[in-house]
């Protein structure tokens, strides 16, 4: 049996069971969490190219399988990323167990994981945007989560994946045409151009960041944290898959008239603009949901910069930043979800004023998570940001200053949020945190602080990431 079949079917079966149990929150959340955790651990433990025994059946993870006329095969990178997404989903479920993120999140999360599995394993990778469009269409239901009113977050999430579809399909057609005229390089140039524009839309640096910010603002926080993590990881993995499969894509220009305008440069400078914009916008927000959304965007900008750097060591840095971002987003999203729930679904400063005095652990989880997203010292996000600063500083100190300015902007936003959270309490009848909520917040705080105090914990996942990306060229 192929590993792809397990990734596509097991979460769907679990989703069905979870849906049937939806009236009982504890069993349904426990089943969803166990299913995601099991998938994550199995995907991280199983070797990619050897047979393993699972429930009495022989499973070969990388065996290709043909479904609905399309070939699916799990490469080591896809296996590693799916394992990471499953573990992140389990963490989101753990938080959602105590703070409702919408009734549909438990079954839909598993179904979405299965769809992400299809996106990451479909061959050739040109077809992945079609499946990604299906993913965001299904995700619209969990982003909106039954909430009445603005639908901007869910609507905008549909934009970019749908827009990239014809670009990738046309690029694939030109690639097929290229061998018909081996003398001419025009077909491959056109394919490179279309694929680069498509990848730029999928990776969405500034000024294409709007959908990600709207999703972060409007979706339930833990749903947003998982979806933003999954979408970023999927886009990066798709870029990597295309670079491995079509090495001529490296250095492809977006416009023939501007040969210097290459994807790598656009990601590098777009990433810097993203960091700066996220910092500036985050610093002036009077709403902690928006601050959180911009903090997540800041780290994503750092990820794009490290992709754009294009060195062989870039992938380790990319994944160090992505993993730290995922951890920080989950922890801060948990804090944000509790604060939002206690403030009556409003997260502007007027409504959250004083909540920190009654919900100190939750507030600490939120604030420390955002600090980690900003890459501040003594948090999980620091190692990645420090490595990025060193890489940028060795090229051009001004580039490092731009990223630092973004981080400082976020710090200003954080101080203003802290001031609001510790201000005079409006609702004197507000109850204190329950013990289980304190335990979950403490777990999150440990996840943020321990990697900073003991950086060697990064070694194992990073070694696995580096091993998975071993055969991958430096960058676009």
């Amino acid at each position: 049996m192929s590993g792809v079949v397990l990734v596509l079917t097991l979460p769907l079966l679990a989703a069905l069971l979870v849906y049937l149990l939806r009236r009982w929150p504890l069993p349904s959340s426990a089943l969803a969490g166990v299913a995601a955790l099991t998938l994550g651990l199995l995907l991280w433990r199983w070797p990619n190219n050897e047979a393993v025994l699972f429930l009495g059946r022989v499973v070969r993870v990388n065996a290709p399988v043909v479904l609905l006329g399309q070939t699916f095969a799990m490469q080591p990178t896809a296996q590693w990323v799916l394992g990471w997404l499953a573990l992140a989903l389990a963490a989101a479920y753990l938080g959602a167990w105590r703070v409702s993120q919408g009734r549909t999140f438990f079954p839909f999360g598993l179904a979405l994981f299965s769809l992400f599995g299809a996106v990451l394993t479909i061959q050739p990778a040109w077809l992945a945007p079609i499946l990604l469009a299906a993913v965001v269409s299904v995700a619209a239901f969990v982003i909106q989560a039954g909430r009445q009113g603005s639908t901007r977050g869910a609507v905008r999430a549909l934009w970019l994946p749908v827009l990239t579809i014809p670009l990738f399909l046309a690029a694939a057609w030109y690639v097929d045409q290229a061998p018909l005229d081996p003398e001419s390089v025009q077909a491959l140039q056109l394919a490179g151009q279309l694929a680069s524009i498509g990848l730029l839309l999928l990776l969405a640096p500034w000024p294409l960041h709007g959908p990600a910010v709207s999703l972060g603002e409007e979706a339930p926080p833990l749903v947003a944290a998982w979806l933003l993590t999954a979408l970023a990881a999927t886009a990066i993995t798709l870029l990597q898959a295309l670079l491995v499969q079509y090495q001529w894509l490296q250095g492809a220009t977006l416009f023939f008239t501007l040969p210097a305008l290459r994807l790598g440069e656009l990601l590098l400078y777009g990433g810097m603009a993203t960091c700066l914009w996220a910092g500036l916008a985050g610093g002036v927000q009077t709403n902690i949901s928006r601050l959180w959304s911009y903090a997540a965007l800041f780290t994503y900008g750092a990820v794009l910069i490290s992709v754009g750097l294009g060195t062989r060591g870039s992938w380790a840095l990319v994944w160090l930043l992505l993993i730290a971002r995922g951890v920080a987003m989950m922890v801060s999203a948990y804090g944000l979800a509790v604060l939002r729930q206690r403030a009556g679904s409003q997260t502007d400063f007027a409504h959250i004023q004083g909540l920190g005095t009654r919900l100190p652990w939750t507030s600490a989880a939120f604030l420390l998570g955002v600090l980690s997203l900003a890459g501040m010292p003594l948090t999980a996000g620091f190692a990645g940001q420090w490595a990025l600063m060193q890489a940028l500083g060795s090229r051009d100190w001004l580039q490092a200053v731009i990223v630092l300015a973004g981080a400082l902007g976020l710090a200003v936003g954080l101080i203003r949020s802290l001031s609001a959270l510790l201000g005079p309490l409006n609702n004197l009848l507000l109850e204190r945190e329950e013990r289980i909520m304190i335990a979950l917040a403490a777990l999150g705080l440990a996840a943020i602080l321990l990697p900073a105090l003991y950086p060697e914990v990064w070694l194992k996942p990073l070694s696995a990431a580096v091993a998975a990306f071993a055969g991958v060229p430096g960058g676009p």
């Binding site: 006329g69 619209a140 749908v162 579809i165």
Partner: protein, 226 residues
């Protein structure tokens, strides 16, 4: 009483419809797309969606077997049904664009005024018609190339004109319809056509759900911090 004549086969139907091919068909699709982008009445939008998808079916019949061309009408029809039910569920009246309230004063965003939308749509139409001889995608037949560019441009314009679920859904379907036409002209892959049609229906379903979540748009009391 005379017995009913047999219903014409799909081939016959499309052969008859083929008489409309050329300028009348392009005109119907082009005007339909302009109305789709500019109109504020959701019932008019759904009617025009069917006109555009029927036109696309006739155009697709020149590239693919008629059964596959019919799929365009089926997808467009299902999307229209989904949105009709959603509009009914949401309790919409005649118009679908939002009226924003600010301190008791009703203020409409510029992009929601019919005049502005028509002007912008006409400007885009004039631009495409002017650039017609220099349009990209030379590998496509002339008519198909024009319709692909037209649908794609108005799809992007629709997305630029607003965040409302129905507007965005229509714009995304226009973009996907352009993709389907491109695919029909370049590589006739049955699975890809099915896959894209499924995505079209999923987009319609998602935006239909979001229309219900948006609720009646003349009441913005529940609106978040927009």
């Amino acid at each position: 009483m005379q017995p009913l004549p047999p219903f014409p086969s799909l081939d016959t139907l499309f052969q008859q419809a083929d008489r409309l091919a050329g300028t009348p068909l392009l005109l119907a699709i082009s005007l339909g797309v302009i109305v789709l982008t500019a109109a504020r009445d959701w019932r008019l939008v759904l009617a025009m969606l069917m006109v555009v998808y029927s036109g696309l079916a006739v155009l697709t019949a020149s590239l693919l077997p008629p059964q596959w061309a019919l799929l365009r009408v089926v997808v467009g029809g299902l999307a229209a049904v989904i949105w009709y039910i959603s509009a009914q569920q949401a309790g919409w009246g005649g118009s679908f664009l939002p009226f924003q309230h600010s301190q008791g004063v009703e203020a409409r965003p510029l992009a929601s005024t019919t005049l502005f939308r028509i002007l912008i749509a006409l400007a885009v139409a004039v631009l495409i018609l002017t650039l017609r001889p220099r349009l990209p995608l030379p590998a496509l037949p002339t008519d198909v190339r024009f319709v692909v560019i037209w649908l794609g441009a108005f799809g992007l314009l629709g997305l630029a004109l607003g965040d409302e679920a129905l507007q965005a859904g229509v714009a995304l379907l226009l973009w996907l319809a352009a993709t389907q036409l491109l695919l029909a002209a370049l590589q006739q892959d049955a699975w890809l056509i099915w896959l894209l049609s499924t995505v079209e229906l999923l987009v319609a379903l998602a935006t239909g759900y979001l229309m219900i979540a948006r609720g009646p748009l003349w009441s913005n009391k529940r609106e978040g911090s927009d």
